[in-house]
Symmetry: C2
């Protein structure tokens, strides 16, 4: 149950329209009353995750939420061609003030 709730308050950023993610995060804080939402992304979507976090915290939910924590990491794996590849990840925790 706790795990499911946690899953609800995560936003994985990909190639959907930008405002889908912003609206998704805002909804979690407002209609779902989340205390924290974790915005996650990999590779080239990391820049978008930062944009989404900034637009949410500085424009849509100004004075209400803040960036609480930022973690970066990377995973190394072997791709289909047998080549070693490293992909970076980011997790931005937005929280109610």
């Amino acid at each position: 149950m706790a795990e499911k709730k946690n899953e609800d308050h995560t936003m994985f950023v990909g190639s959907k329209p930008f405002m889908n993610y912003v609206t998704g995060v805002v909804m979690q804080f407002t209609t779902q009353n989340a205390k924290e939402v974790v915005v996650k992304a990999r590779g080239k979507f990391i820049s978008r995750a930062v944009d989404i976090s900034e637009v949410t915290s500085k424009r849509f939910l100004e004075n209400t939420i803040e960036v609480k924590d930022i973690k970066i990491d990377s995973e190394e794996f072997t791709n289909k061609e047998g080549k070693q590849v490293r992909v970076s990840t980011i997790e931005i925790t937005l929280a109610k003030k």
Copy 2:
């Protein structure tokens, strides 16, 4: 003097080849003996800044340096067409362990 030294230990990430930045950061820690290097980027280059920080700390200077701090921010300004534009920024502080 202190200001100049500080400037030396900053790496602005743009569109140059990836390894230029990695080598630049590694050199600051090794030949210039920096205690900290701040990797900075704006907009779409944020993902690269994370990649560069990860490759430097996990591969080239493994067990020697770590990600000490990460800050994100954004600046709103009016572009040439008179449109309000927001650009995100990141500052990743790498430090000797």
